[in-house]
């Protein structure tokens, strides 16, 4: 491109920002970042041959709900983080997870044939229809508890997504491959902070250790194999096989942080039901009340 052409192009760029605001087309809203499109626009979402669509949809809900609810809990840290840099980090991690949730919920709504979009699934399901593990719904009492949850969650999800990259469902494999890059940064972030607090002052060490003890009863559930996963061979990841890899990472972080692995029992299920079956803790109802209230007060609203 010659100099003149470059100059001309630049002036077009300048004009364009104004165009985007004033020359509104039917489907464009002015506010940046508030529009919602199909997260899988133009992606081939057909269900692979031999795979049960309803089962695949449930599996996508499991993975999507984990990210959606974890993201929501992280978003609650906005304006409450100890430093601006940490608030930015937590916000970006929440945003990555929300993006993963959007794609997975969109995939779910297509796979089961109901054609529900991500918003319908996020805002119009009841508590018992959410398939997330209970770790993600826990309220963080302090910054250390958030970090303990994020460390366990991102270590586990990273191992799961790494394995999911070879899923025979091409959409799940693609979502996982993308997520792996993001989760690597999330895990590093949480691990570095856990080391900093664990190997910090006596007070930070005490609170980090207490945070681990509070979160640990929820870790056992992460490795409980579920029938839906067993019914999707080659598509879903067997979570019980992830334990060794996750343990190596967690033990390495805890050792560096001079922290010990809590010796506490697992949070029980009820008649064999756990988060993956729609059984949730008391905290969960409050999340839904907050997350769904606007959508339910103004059904069909757009902005």
């Amino acid at each position: 491109m010659s100099h003149d052409e470059a100059g001309k192009a630049d002036s077009v760029e300048d004009d364009f920002a104004a165009h985007a605001l004033t020359q509104d087309t039917e489907d464009h809203r002015w506010a940046f970042g508030t529009g919602f499109t199909d997260a899988l626009e133009g992606v081939d979402t057909s269900v692979p041959v031999g795979v049960d669509g309803a089962m695949l949809a449930t599996y996508c809900l499991m993975l999507g709900d984990d990210a959606l609810i974890m993201s929501h809990r992280l978003q609650q840290w906005m304006t409450r983080a100890p430093e601006l840099e940490e608030e930015t980090a937590i916000g970006n991690i929440a945003l990555d997870l929300l993006g993963q949730a959007r794609m997975l919920l969109a995939r779910s709504g297509k796979a089961d044939g109901t054609n529900r979009n991500e918003d319908q699934l996020a805002f119009w399901r009841a508590e018992g229809e959410f398939r997330n593990v209970r770790l993600v719904e826990r309220v963080d009492a302090d910054f250390a508890e958030m970090l303990a949850r994020l460390l366990v969650f991102s270590t586990w999800r990273l191992a799961q997504f790494d394995a999911l990259r070879s899923s025979k469902d091409q959409v799940l494999a693609a979502i996982a491959a993308k997520g792996v890059k993001e989760l690597t940064y999330h895990r590093d972030y949480a691990a570095r902070w856990v080391v900093r607090l664990g190997d910090g002052t006596a007070e930070s060490h005490r609170r980090m250790q207490a945070a681990l003890a509070a979160v640990w009863p929820l870790t056992e559930e992460l490795f409980r194999p579920h029938q839906v996963e067993a019914d999707l061979p080659g598509v879903a990841v067997d979570v019980s096989a992830l334990r060794a890899e996750v343990d190596v990472i967690l033990d390495s972080v805890l050792a560096t942080a001079t922290l010990s692995r809590p010796a506490v029992g697992a949070l029980a299920g009820v008649r064999g039901r756990f988060g993956r079956d729609g059984l949730h803790t008391e905290a969960f109802g409050y999340i839904l009340a907050e997350m769904q209230s606007v959508a339910r007060a103004y059904p069909g609203a757009t902005w």
Binding site: E13, G35, E85, Y185, E245
Partner: protein, 176 residues
């Protein structure tokens, strides 16, 4: 739907629609274009219009809708009729796709371009407990004596750095 993947350097056809789409600025980094960032993957003419394939940088990129709208608007203004936008998730975007021109423009805007993304060996993904071992030159004074102050910044794709020489803070596009 499967279409051949075409990298930015090799337009699928005469390149007019590619040029128009490729010149659309990124909403969050307006100093660089979608083509320079590697977000624009393919532009091809179809009967009655044009199909544009884009890929998100991060899963939660909030700019995808604006990018779609900007592409549609620009191409329609240029007379390309029906504009279809496709999202392509695989292969996942990598910061290695940012072109040399894009990297030069980022530096001029005070943003350090990414190091090359590490190719992973087989086995578990390694944990990084210390600071990332990467050399980042200050985009303002050129000094290589810089330090990361936060692994996340105003957008998901950037980290926050500080120059030990000129003391200025700056942003760095993370390698992924």
């Amino acid at each position: 739907m499967v279409t051949a993947r075409v990298l930015p350097e090799v337009p699928a056809w005469d390149g007019t629609a590619w040029d128009i789409a490729g010149r659309v600025p990124d909403p969050e980094l307006p100093m660089v274009t979608l083509a320079e960032l590697g977000i624009l993957r393919d532009v091809r003419q179809v009967p009655g219009g044009v199909t544009v394939t884009i890929t998100p940088t991060y899963s939660g990129c909030p700019a995808m809708r604006e990018i779609s709208h900007d592409l549609r608007y620009r191409l329609q203004q240029a007379g390309f009729g029906e504009v279809t936008i496709r999202t392509e998730l695989s292969p996942a975007w990598t910061s290695d796709w940012i072109t040399p021109e894009g990297r030069a423009k980022l530096i001029r805007a005070g943003i350090a371009p990414p190091n090359s993304a590490r190719t992973r060996k087989a086995g578990p993904i390694p944990l990084t407990l210390g600071r990332f071992e990467r050399t980042v030159a200050c985009p303002l004074c050129g000094s290589q004596s810089t330090q990361e102050t936060s692994p996340f910044s105003a957008t998901a794709c950037k980290a926050l750095y500080r120059c030990n020489h000129c003391r200025e803070p700056f942003e760095y596009i993370k390698e992924i």
